[in-house]
C-alpha cells in the first residue's frame, strides 16, 4: 500500500519545538516522566506483592526445639512477656480470669459477627491485627476500639519474623503500628509474633525477635490455651480446647480471619456463658494485669498518624490501580471471546453464502472501467503494476496513471510500456487524495477502480471486482489484498495479519454492512458514489477509510469481493512498517472522529453511523488499546500470582488466535505453513503494534502535526507479475 505525501507540510513557524535546545529539554522531561510512571507502577507492584503475601493461619511451625538461651523466667513463666527492663519479666493472668484474643483480622466477613457475639455477652477482648488488613478495613479497626476492645500488633503481613532480616522485621512491626495509628489514632504496646504459641514453645530461634520487640517497648503476648479453631475441628471441639483447666486464668487464642470462621463464632457464643457460669471474668490483656502494663492503646503521635495515612492511602491507591487493570483485562478478554465467536460464525456463513453455486450478484457487469493509479516516485514498481492492470480480462479497461509530481522517471516508465489503453496525467503536487480526485474527474467511465502503484493484480481481478455493481445499491467494492513480498519474518507476519484482517474481519464487517476501509491497494467505486461522498478529502491520513465511511453515509452499500485479489508490496523494514501503521491507526482515528456526527444523524447516515461506528471503534481502536494489558498481566501473574493458571490463561488466548488464523487461512485457501511464526509474532510484532497505536492516540490528543515520507521500494512484490 502506498504511503505517500508528495511534499512535507511547511515547518510551523509558531512552534518552538524545532529549536534544538527546546527539543533536548523536552526529551529529558519526557524521559523523566516515563521514569516517574514506571516508578509508580513499580510501587504498585511492590505494595501488592508485599501486602498480598499469602499465609497459612496455623498455630506453630516447630523446627527447632532447643531453648537454651531462653531465660527460665520466660520459658517457665506466663504468656505476657515484658523484656523492656533490665530483667525479663513475665506475667500470668489471675485465677478465674480469661482474656480472649483474636489473631489475623480484621476480616470484613468474620470480624463483625465475632464483635456482635462479644457485644451480646458484654465481653471485652484483645484483637491482634495484621497491618495490611487494618489498612484495607479501617472501619472495622475503628469499631474494635469503639466497642471497648484492645488492639495488639500482629505484624503487617503475617510472616515468620525469625525468617526475616532485621530491617524487614522492623518494617513489619513499624507498619502495623502506623496502620493502627492512621485508622484509629491510637498506638499499641501489645504485640504477638505470628506462628507463636505458648511461652515454653519459644525457641532460641524466636527469642532474639522477642528481645528486639521488648527493646522497642512492646509487650509480647503469647497464650495459655490454644482453641485450635484454625483447624476447623467443629464448634464443640473448639469450645473444649478453649476451656482453661480448673480455675486457672488464661489467655485464649482464637482467630477472626484466615478462612471460614463460622465455627469460631458458634463456639464463642457457647464458651462465654459456660465460663461465666463457672465464675470466670472476661477482660482484656492489660485489664487482667491491673496497672502493671499501663493502657494498651495510648494515643498515637501526630507524625505516626501521618506516616500511617501515607501507608494506608498507598495501599488503597495500589489496590485501585490493580483492580482497574483486572477490570480492563476482563473486559478485554470478554471482548476477544465475543469477537472470536462472531468472527467464526459470520465469516464462515459469509464464505458459505458467497461460495454457493447459486450465488450471483446479478447479470454480469461488462461495463468499461477506468483504473486510476496515483503515483509518486514509483519508477521501480509502476511498470509491472500498470502492465498487470492494462492486461486485465475485462472489456474496455482504461488505465489512468496520475503522476503526482514525481521527481524520478515514473511517467516515463509508464509511457515506455507502449500500451494503448494507458494514459498518464501529470498533476502538480497535491497528495494522494487529490491525485485520486483528479483521476476520478478525468475517468471516461462510470466505474472507477483505484489501485496503488506498488500493487499487481491477477488477470481476472478487475473483472471480478466490478461484478457486485450488478446490484444497483452497491456503491463501492473492496478487493482482497495480499502481501506480495512474503520473505523474512516481517513479510510473513504481515501476510498473516493481512489474511486475518482482510479476510476474516472484512467478511464480518461485510455481513454487518459496515466495512470500514476499502484498501487503497484495490477498490472499485461508482463515480456517482464518490461524488455523493464529496470526493476524497485531504483532512485525514486515511483517505481510503474516510471515503469508505462517507460513501456508506451517503446511503450506498459497500461490499467485499474476496475473489478479486491484488498483491501489494508490504513494508520490508521495521521503520517503514512503523510509519505505515502509524498512518493507518492515526488515520482511522481521524476518520472515525470526522464522521462522529453520523451517530446522531437521521437517514442512511445515521443508520450506518449507529451500526458501524461503535463497532469499528470498539474492535478497531479500543480493543487493540486494551490488548497490551493481556501481556502485562500475564507477566505479573507469572511472577507474583498462580503461575500455572497464568500460563493456562495465556495459552488459551494463544490457541484462540491460532484457531482464528487457521480459519482465516482456510477460507482464503492459503497454505498454513506461515502460521509457525505465530507464537513469535506474539512477543515482537504485537508489542510494536501497541506502541504504534498508543503513539498515534497520543498524537491525536495533543494535536501535533505529522510529516510523511514515502516508503522506500524494493520492487520485490512485482516479481510475481506475470
Amino acid at each position: 500500500m502506498t504511503v505517500y505525501r508528495s511534499a512535507p507540510p511547511p515547518a510551523d513557524p509558531e512552534s518552538s519545538g524545532a529549536l534544538p535546545v527546546v527539543r533536548r529539554r523536552r526529551r529529558t522531561f519526557r524521559a523523566l516522566l516515563v521514569l516517574v510512571v514506571l516508578a509508580v507502577l513499580a510501587t504498585v507492584v511492590v505494595v501488592e506483592v508485599y501486602t498480598d503475601a499469602g499465609f497459612t493461619p496455623d498455630g506453630t511451625t516447630q523446627q527447632e526445639a532447643s531453648h537454651g538461651r531462653v531465660p527460665a523466667a520466660v520459658h517457665d513463666g506466663g504468656p505476657v512477656i515484658d523484656l523492656s527492663g533490665p530483667r525479663p519479666r513475665s506475667y500470668r493472668l489471675p485465677d478465674r480470669t480469661v482474656a480472649l484474643t483474636f489473631d489475623d483480622g480484621p476480616d470484613p466477613k468474620w470480624t463483625p459477627p465475632i464483635l456482635d457475639v462479644l457485644a451480646r455477652h458484654r465481653v471485652p477482648a484483645t484483637f491482634f491485627v495484621v497491618g495490611s488488613q487494618v489498612a484495607r478495613n479501617p472501619e472495622l479497626a475503628r469499631r474494635i476500639v469503639r466497642e471497648g476492645h484492645e488492639l495488639g500488633a500482629h505484624t503487617f503481613t503475617h510472616p515468620d519474623l525469625a525468617d526475616l532480616p532485621r530491617w524487614r522485621r522492623d518494617l513489619e512491626n513499624s507498619q502495623v503500628q502506623l496502620a493502627i495509628a492512621a485508622t484509629t489514632g491510637r498506638s499499641t504496646i501489645l504485640t504477638r509474633p505470628p506462628y507463636s504459641s505458648f511461652p515454653d514453645a519459644l525457641t532460641d530461634r524466636d527469642y532474639p525477635t522477642v528481645q528486639e520487640l521488648g527493646r522497642q517497648g512492646y509487650v509480647t503476648v503469647l497464650d495459655d490455651v490454644d482453641s485450635e479453631d484454625w483447624r476447623r475441628p467443629g464448634a464443640d471441639a473448639i469450645v473444649r480446647s478453649a476451656t482453661p483447666r480448673g480455675d486457672a486464668g488464661a489467655i485464649v487464642l482464637l482467630h477472626d480471619a484466615g478462612g471460614d470462621r463460622a465455627q469460631t463464632v458458634t463456639a464463642l457464643d457457647r464458651l462465654i456463658p459456660q465460663l461465666q457460669e463457672r465464675g470466670y471474668r472476661f477482660t482484656t490483656v492489660t485489664g487482667a494485669l491491673g496497672d502493671r502494663l499501663g493502657p494498651a492503646n495510648p494515643p498515637a503521635a501526630a507524625t505516626q498518624v501521618w506516616r500511617g495515612r501515607t501507608l494506608v492511602w498507598t495501599i488503597r491507591a495500589s489496590d485501585a490501580v490493580l483492580w482497574l487493570f483486572w477490570a480492563l483485562l476482563i473486559a478485554a478478554g470478554a471482548l476477544i471471546v465475543v469477537r472470536t465467536l462472531i468472527l467464526f460464525l459470520f465469516a464462515w456463513r459469509h464464505a458459505r453464502r458467497r461460495r454457493a453455486p447459486a450465488w450471483t450478484w446479478g447479470s454480469p457487469v461488462t461495463e468499461p472501467v477506468t483504473i486510476v493509479v496515483p503515483a509518486y516516485n514509483e519508477e521501480k514498481t509502476i511498470g509491472a503494476a500498470v502492465r498487470s492492470l492494462a492486461l486485465s480480462a475485462h472489456p474496455g479497461v482504461e488505465v489512468l496513471v496520475v503522476d503526482d509530481a514525481s521527481t524520478d522517471r515514473t511517467a516515463e516508465a509508464v509511457e515506455g510500456l507502449g500500451l494503448g489503453n494507458v494514459r498518464v496525467v501529470r498533476v502538480p503536487p497535491g497528495g494522494k487524495a487529490t491525485a485520486l480526485n483528479t483521476g476520478t474527474a478525468l475517468a471516461r467511465n462510470d466505474i472507477v477502480v483505484m489501485v496503488d502503484a506498488d500493487t499487481v493484480v491477477d488477470t481476472d481481478s478487475v473483472h471480478r471486482l466490478v461484478q457486485p455493481f450488478a446490484d444497483p445499491a452497491v456503491g463501492a467494492v473492496a478487493g482482497n489484498v495480499k502481501v506480495g513480498n512474503r520473505r523474512g519474518l516481517l513479510g510473513i507476519w504481515q501476510h498473516i495479519e493481512y489474511v486475518i484482517g482482510f479476510n476474516l474481519d472484512r467478511r464480518l464487517y461485510d455481513t454487518l454492512g459496515c466495512i470500514p476501509t476499502i484498501p487503497g491497494a484495490l477498490g472499485a467505486f461508482r463515480r456517482e458514489a464518490v461524488r455523493n461522498a464529496g470526493g476524497l478529502a485531504v483532512d485525514t491520513l486515511a483517505e481510503d477509510t474516510d471515503l469508505t465511511i462517507a460513501i456508506q453515509r451517503a446511503g450506498w452499500r459497500v461490499v467485499f469481493e474476496e475473489d478479486a485479489r491484488a498483491y501489494t508490496e508490504a513494508p520490508a523494514t521495521l521503520p517503514q512498517l512503523w510509519r505505515q501503521r502509524y498512518r493507518w491507526s492515526y488515520g482511522t482515528m481521524q476518520a472515525l472522529w470526522k464522521h462522529r456526527r453520523a451517530l446522531v444523524e437521521r437517514g442512511p447516515s445515521g443508520r450506518f453511523g449507529r451500526r458501524g461506528l461503535p463497532f469499528i471503534t470498539l474492535f478497531g481502536v479500543l480493543l487493540p488499546l486494551l490488548a497490551p494489558l493481556i501481556d502485562l498481566m500475564a507477566v505479573y501473574g507469572f511472577f507474583f500470582l498462580d503461575r500455572r493458571l497464568t500460563l493456562v490463561g495465556w495459552l488459551a488466548i494463544m490457541i484462540v488466535q491460532v484457531l482464528t488464523a487457521v480459519l482465516a487461512f482456510r477460507l482464503d485457501r492459503e497454505r498454513l505453513w506461515p502460521l509457525w511464526t505465530l507464537p513469535l509474532q506474539q512477543i515482537v510484532y504485537r508489542q510494536l503494534m501497541y506502541a504504534v497505536l498508543l503513539h498515534s492516540a497520543l498524537t491525536a490528543v495533543t494535536g501535533r502535526r505529522l510529516r510523511w515520507q514515502k516508503m522506500r521500494r524494493t520492487g520485490v512484490a512485482l516479481s510475481r507479475a506475470g
Binding site: 516517574v36 510501587t43 496497672d291 503521635a301 462510470d446 444497483p472 456517482e528 494535536g703 502535526r705
Partner: protein
C-alpha cells in the same frame, strides 16, 4: 384520467399491473447506464485546461491543532501531574523507610514511691 374506463392503458402506467396480451416495456431497473461517449470529443488530457475542484483543501486536518495551544496546555498539565506523582512517590517511600521504625510510645516513668509489682514499666 378517463373516468369509468374499464380498459387498461396499453403502454402500462407506472404502478399499475398490465393484464392481457399487451406488449409491455420493462421499466429499467437500477441506475441508468451511461454509454460510452460517441463522436470525436477531445481526449481529456488534450482538452483545454480547466480547473478541477480540489476537495476540502481549506479544511484543516482532523485532530491537528495548528495554534499549538492544546499541546502546550496538555504538556504543562502532564508535567504538573508528573511532578505531583514524583512528590507523592517520594513522600510514600520516605515515610515508610525513613524516620526509623514506629514504636509504641515510651511508658511514663514510674513514680519512685510506687511499690515493686505495682508499676513495672
Amino acid at each position: 384520467m378517463r373516468a369509468g374506463a374499464m380498459s387498461l392503458s396499453v403502454d402500462g402506467m407506472p404502478g399499475e399491473r398490465n393484464v392481457g396480451r399487451a406488449r409491455v416495456r420493462r421499466l429499467p431497473r437500477g441506475r441508468a447506464r451511461v454509454g460510452r461517449p460517441v463522436g470525436k470529443a477531445p481526449l481529456p488530457e488534450r482538452a483545454a485546461t480547466s480547473i478541477l475542484p480540489a476537495a476540502g483543501a481549506e479544511t484543516p486536518p482532523v485532530f491537528v491543532d495548528p495554534s499549538g495551544v492544546r499541546r502546550r496546555r496538555l504538556r504543562l498539565a502532564v508535567y504538573a501531574l508528573g511532578l505531583v506523582l514524583a512528590a507523592v512517590l517520594a513522600a510514600v517511600w520516605l515515610s515508610q523507610l525513613g524516620g526509623g521504625p514506629a514504636a509504641p510510645p515510651k511508658p511514663t516513668p514510674c513514680p519512685a514511691a510506687s511499690s515493686a509489682g505495682g508499676c513495672v514499666r
